[in-house]
């Protein structure tokens, strides 16, 4: 029944799009999904359409889960997602997972008097905070890695995403990969069953995370790097995180790049791989590919051709990978080898 419903809905929407699209251009494409990718897509599409007036691309920021499911149902040609698809989903509906850019996540906090400092935090400490084992900012485990910092004896308010989110996915992956007890407990996913912590608060969307963290003294939150300008404006502090080599690193272009390059050679041809907790002394531990989820069987030949053209442009160094686009959302361009893999995947679109 789900399929019929989805089909009916797709037909309705397609009819609407075609009806509206006819007046504007020949072919129309719909991109929907991740709200982290959405601002980048808008920059890309605005620029792309100046040179390619014959295709009409509509963008929507709806969330990664919606992006994936609408790419599967055929409503959208591009489903943007912060997370690669799980094996179980791929078995039901094989899709292409094509990386478009590299994103990262910072751990923000609002500790009165300490926000100008970069605290050192590790996966196990964050797992302790989010599971309620570490309750106060001056806990021994936090103090140990922040010698010389005067930590207050205030109760920590851990903020997590209430809605399904790629940010929850990569954050919980960092906790899972660095902390065995977390991996056997809550695990990772776009929504996880958060341990019961009496001070814990759920917030909706990255704007909600920024807002709640800013309003709540002694809180901690995980926020996508696209919101760096907002978190800076809110005067939130952000942490240096302990990486696999045991070093504390800040999220900078060079540490994000280091982490991405360390896993370039390990990226499989279907490009579904986690970049979390990458090896390397300089690697920042929470980075990820932003994906375009695309159905290889487009059905409509004209749509398929336009889709390939747009995705190829998005991956080109003189196209979508230019700094003027990526810098606006603090994303990094894909390494050359990943672009090659992505191009091979794009070639499969029919």
């Amino acid at each position: 029944m789900r399929k019929t419903l989805a089909l009916a809905f797709a037909a309705l929407l397609a009819a609407g799009l075609l009806g509206g699209g006819k007046a504007l251009a020949g072919t129309s494409l719909l991109e929907t999904g991740s709200t982290l990718v959405y601002p980048l897509m808008n920059l890309w599409v605005a620029d792309y359409q100046r040179a390619h007036g014959d295709v009409q691309i509509t963008t929507q920021g709806t969330g990664s889960g919606t992006g994936i499911s609408q790419a599967i149902s055929g409503v959208a040609q591009i489903g943007a997602s912060d997370a690669y698809m799980a094996d179980a989903q791929m078995k039901n509906s094989p899709m292409l997972n094509i990386p478009l850019a590299i994103s990262a996540q910072q751990i923000n906090y609002n500790i009165p008097g300490l926000n100008a400092k970069h605290l050192n935090l590790s996966g196990p400490v964050l797992a302790g905070i989010y599971s309620g084992a570490i309750k106060f900012w001056d806990d021994k485990q936090i103090a140990e890695m922040n010698k010389g910092v005067k930590l207050p004896h205030n109760q920590i308010v851990p903020i997590h995403r209430a809605d399904g989110s790629g940010d929850t996915f990569i954050f919980s992956q960092y906790l899972s990969f660095s902390t065995p007890s977390w991996s056997h407990g809550p695990g990772y996913g776009t929504t996880i069953s958060w341990p019961s912590v009496s001070t814990a608060v759920g917030a909706t969307g990255n704007p909600g995370m920024v807002q709640t963290c800013q309003n709540t003294p002694n809180s901690i939150a995980y926020i996508g790097v696209s919101f760096l300008d907002e978190t800076n404006k809110a005067h939130l502090g952000y942490a240096a995180l302990k990486n696999r080599s045991g070093r504390f690193v800040l999220p900078t272009a060079s540490t994000i790049h280091a982490a991405a390059s360390s896993l370039t050679s390990k990226t499989p041809s279907d490009e579904r791989i986690s970049l979390i907790f990458a090896p390397g002394a300089e690697s920042y531990p929470i980075i990820n590919y932003e994906y375009a989820i695309v159905n290889p069987q487009q059905g409509d030949a004209a749509k398929g051709a336009e889709l390939k053209k747009f995705l190829t442009w998005a991956l080109a160094s003189n196209g979508g990978q230019q700094a003027k686009f990526l810098n606006a959302v603090h994303f990094l361009p894909l390494p050359e080898k990943i672009v090659k893999l992505s191009k091979a995947q794009i070639a499969k679109i029919k």
């Binding site: 209430a162 399904g164 958060w194 001070t199 309003n215 709540t216």
Partner: protein, 347 residues
């Protein structure tokens, strides 16, 4: 929804079909209104039918644990294999317990009514009897304006203004000075939680209740109030002992309408409730979560559950909300009927 039925029923009773002349146009009107009345039943029945049919795998998979467990876990979407119960499968580690959300829904709505009902009645009565005639149109317009403000606007105000105020001023003050009273002590929290939800919901339902009760009181002839005053009662006595009992049916209908709104409000609550998961609030400032809020916040991830059980369980949550609304309506009507019978009125 059911509160609307009461109003439809009242009108039907007032204009008896037998008393109407049977002309051609009258027959057409009777058929059309009959069809419309039938459609309202059919639509509710169809919604319920499809909801239950869609939720059926979840109802079987979750069993009674759905109502008794407080652990909500859609399972590991990146895990391998599936778990299955009663012939239906879900992601590994999945457990769908709605107790936290059912508790949050009922408690926020009930506390909202505790705050909103007395306030609304007082405002409605004063709008009819005590507010100076010159100011009345302005006051009425303001009430209607408040009733028309979209809920997300209340939510935004709650998130930006109310929640920080509760978190930094009200909650610390209350927990320090009144901490000895149960459910007022303990952690002051972040401001997101039960108190903020109730505050926002009360702001949203009070205008609705004021507008509807005011209209019911206005529809009642003024003679009751005047007769009561002539017999020497104070205006307070006239309002509470003569006017209010006479419009009880309308007041209950408006309370039910407001209760339904409070139970089902989604966006504004989601923005201020703290989205609790797997935990109950420690005091009135603690985070809660409601069925409506959790459906909208979890849908996104549920869509990525290849087994589909997370979506089905959200549908089961929706069924529970339907059921809660139904139970409350039936109970309220039962109370009304009982009261009427005691006083020897026709039910």
């Amino acid at each position: 929804m059911a509160s609307m039925d009461i109003r439809v029923g009242d009108t039907a009773r007032a204009v008896s079909p037998a008393a109407l002349q049977r002309t051609g146009s009258q027959t057409i009107l009777t058929v059309l209104t009959g069809l419309a009345a039938l459609a309202s039943f059919a639509i509710i029945f169809l919604i319920l039918f499809f909801l239950v049919a869609y939720a059926y795998p979840a109802i079987r998979f979750n069993g009674l644990g759905f109502f008794t467990s407080m652990i909500w876990n859609i399972g590991n979407q990146y895990g391998s294999g599936t778990i299955s119960r009663a012939g239906f499968s879900a992601q590994p580690g999945a457990s769908f317990g709605a107790l936290v959300f059912i508790f949050g829904t009922v408690v926020t709505a009930a506390l909202t009514m505790v705050v909103a009902v007395p306030l609304s009645l007082m405002v409605a009565l004063s709008l009819v009897y005590t507010v100076p005639r010159r100011i009345r149109p302005i006051a009425n317009a303001l009430v209607e304006l408040m009733a028309g403000v979209p809920s997300v606007v209340y939510g935004l105000w709650g998130m930006v203004v109310l929640v920080p105020w509760i978190g930094t001023k009200l909650a610390p003050w209350v927990t320090t000075h009144f901490g000895f009273i149960p459910f007022l002590g303990g952690s002051a929290g972040s401001g997101n939680g039960l108190a903020a939800s109730v505050f926002i919901l009360a702001l949203m339902v009070i205008p609705i209740m004021v507008a509807t009760t005011r209209d019911v009181i206005l529809a009642q002839s003024n003679s009751l109030f005047e007769a009561s005053m002539a017999l020497g009662s104070t205006s307070w006595q006239a309002m509470t002992r003569a006017v209010l009992p006479s419009v009880r049916g309308g007041v209950v209908a408006s309370v039910l309408l407001a209760f339904g709104r409070a139970l089902g409000e989604t966006m504004a609550v989601l923005m201020v409730c703290g989205a609790a998961i797997n935990s109950f609030p420690q005091n009135v400032f603690g985070p809660v979560n409601t069925i409506a809020a959790v459906i909208v916040s979890q849908l996104e991830s549920a869509l990525t559950d290849a087994s589909g059980m997370a979506q089905r369980s959200l549908a089961e949550l929706a069924c529970s909300l339907f059921l809660i609304t139904l139970i409350i309506n039936v109970v309220a009507r039962g109370i009304m009927r009982g009261a009427d019978r005691r006083e020897g009125r026709a039910a």
